[in-house]
Symmetry: C2
């Protein structure tokens, strides 16, 4: 059978029958309009989109390639491998096959009539050697950093995007409820972590959590029991856990989970690229009062953040308010990590990546806006003993916020 015919005859129906939701044309057009407003302000004549999630956001497909977006005129999607599938997935009109990156200038000329004088690329993630290659391909053209523009428009989510994050949150809800059934005394952290992940995949979780960074890796098996929860590690997180080796010294380990230990489960789910992040406490039999009290303090801080969350509220002010409250509640030395290793954020924007704007953090003095989505995660760490916390993903609404991960907020005791 001819592969191209098969794709055009069968792939769309097959994928829709198996849960695919394609990005509508109006959605892409709205995003492109906001992008162009940002480009115009910066004097950027065109944008060459190189990073997978930016490319997905603006085209609706992740088929490997490059997206050229001129300020005036239609975008051109140039696909390296599977152009037919890209045509099924993306509502853009101009989708062509690209044999070699050397053809890029002539492809742009053919499509747009000329080359731009200023060209944006995401210089926050583009590797240097690739940058040199683009410089050689476009002599005399000014290459500019387009990452502030694309990150800025991506920080406000549309109803279509919020729906997908809600669907991710719904996967998390099913997993956490199911987890009450399969968590057993004597299991290792990583065994429990693997079962959580397997449960989530069954409901359509995509497995990978994406981060905009060279070295920072996200994962879903952040299961820390008892003293594992008191261990700090590489990531900018209140606690890292023991992990499995020096190559992966974070998250679940081969430690056996005992009765009455606080078991912290920080679990992200991903649906159509959109992530929801949440943390719940588990215990096998009740946990010690010290941990219950600290958990209640985390809930109080969490609720205080949500009470302040509305358009116009300042992100840094919210963070500083939580420091104050943690101190008043008696957790000044254990809130967000042990002394000397306390992190300086209680929330992070979330969407296609885990580190989007806004950050509810020190030094982040800007207002919340309607349509922003972020995860709020107050945590308290006791070295050598354990840690507790709670986390939900929320969207900023017209006059407050809505929780997108609304499963049972209390401790899951089995």
């Amino acid at each position: 059978m001819n592969y191209k015919d098969w794709v055009h005859g069968e792939l769309e129906g097959l994928s829709m029958a198996h849960g695919f939701r394609y990005t509508p044309r109006e959605e892409i057009e709205d995003r492109l309009a906001r992008l162009r407003a940002g480009m115009e302000k910066k004097g950027m004549e065109a944008f060459l989109v190189v990073q997978k999630m930016d490319y997905y956001y603006l085209s609706g497909t992740t088929q490997d390639g490059l997206l050229f977006v001129p300020l005036d005129g239609k975008p051109l999607l140039m696909v390296k491998r599977e152009v037919e599938r890209a045509r099924v997935e993306s509502p853009l009109d101009d989708i062509v096959s690209m044999k070699s990156i050397r053809d890029l200038p002539s492809m742009i000329r053919d499509h747009w009539g000329r080359l731009p004088k200023t060209l944006g690329i995401e210089l926050d993630v583009l590797p240097v050697n690739e940058y040199f290659r683009y410089r050689a391909l476009f002599p005399g053209i000014k290459l500019m950093d387009a990452s502030p523009i694309i990150r800025d428009i991506r920080k406000i989510k549309t109803p279509f995007e919020i729906d997908l994050i809600k669907a991710a949150g719904d996967i998390g809800r099913k997993v956490l409820l199911e987890a009450k059934e399969f968590l057993k005394e004597g299991m290792t952290e990583i065994e429990f972590g693997g079962l959580l992940e397997a449960s989530a995949k069954k409901y359509g979780h995509e497995g990978l959590l994406r981060v905009r960074s060279l070295n920072y890796e996200a994962y879903t098996w952040h299961v820390l029991s008892g003293l594992s929860g008191g261990i700090v590690s590489q990531s900018d997180s209140p606690m890292g856990g023991l992990g499995l080796s020096p190559a992966f010294p974070v998250g679940a380990s081969l430690k056996v989970m005992g009765a009455h230990e606080p078991i912290l489960v920080d679990f992200g789910t991903c649906y159509h690229g959109y992530q929801a992040d949440e943390t719940r406490m588990f215990s096998i039999g009740g946990m010690k009062e010290k941990f219950i009290n600290a958990f209640n303090a985390c809930r109080e801080i969490h609720d205080a953040v949500l009470a302040e969350t509305r358009p116009g509220a300042d992100c840094e002010a919210i963070f500083l308010m939580t420091l104050d409250l943690a101190g008043k509640l008696g957790y000044g030395d254990s809130y967000l990590g042990p002394p000397g290793l306390q992190t300086r954020f209680v929330g992070h924007g979330i969407g296609l990546e885990l580190n989007e704007f806004p950050f509810i953090a020190q030094g982040q003095a800007y207002p919340l806006e309607e349509g922003m989505t972020f995860a709020v995660e107050p945590k308290i760490v006791f070295p050598g003993e354990g840690s507790v916390g709670i986390e939900n993903t929320v969207v900023v609404t017209k006059d407050g916020c809505e929780i997108l991960t609304p499963v049972e907020q209390d401790i899951f005791e089995v």
Copy 2:
């Protein structure tokens, strides 16, 4: 409890009791000696290691930071967050805390007495904005690309590394044997993929497979049944599968697996950062003769590659030999993908990353060397019907090769 005291009193014992193997000092010294030989040849006075796996390879830790390696003198490990844990994990002598990247020049001066005139960095992965930052920190210093040197030394594995890959292969063996028990008719591909991953984690698999690339993502739930196996997608692989959405259009999908379909499971495992990659065919009840014959052809091609594998054999010549053999066996139009979309490699180097040297591929005219490890994966694709294949990870020995993923090579029929 004081966190620093806890780490130095407890962490090493706790981690060793839970399966950690730290990189021995002699191993790091041997790697550094080979690195310096490469640096000297290129006229590189010092190397600032920025990428996580390069950093782990040369230091034994992945605690976030930077590693400065001068041609003459001791390396300096500068850790951003958890310096105490880095001191437990790394055998290097000089491990210090780094508050801000702005302190880098003064920290190097304090340690080494001066700044280098030429400084290597991995420009194949370093983002442009970070490069500009280093240029501003080190005015007048020539920044060079160190990636060819580090990739070159990493391509030859030591016995310590081969042992870790073997251990990863042993996790894969346990998983595939267990999979025979939990594979059931009516399961979706992704449900099976999740259970494979959960099984692997239970045995210590680290979950993430690492790739040296901006956009290329590796994952372990590449479970393709029947017509899913005939779908090409974004990655440079003979078949991509349907996947779960346009944001993750590869690997396992929500398609239900039926009896008698070819079920291709391409499964990578990771132990202490070292990966083993393998592919096996499963079926629920016997599969059609067409697929069995194609599978046998893949085995024949696989065995022919192994018969040629020894120090001195040319990588491109081996690849071209497989094209020839596939044609003779009647699979010229389906070997490594459908016509027009056939990939041009049958093997890829593997270790800490999935895309290391050597590549058994077109255009890769260089000899195999003792200690190289690679995955060999002949596959045959029938659009609209399915695909078959086999894959093993091997190490080049003194006069041939050894399979590091030696579980049952035949079809797993349940």
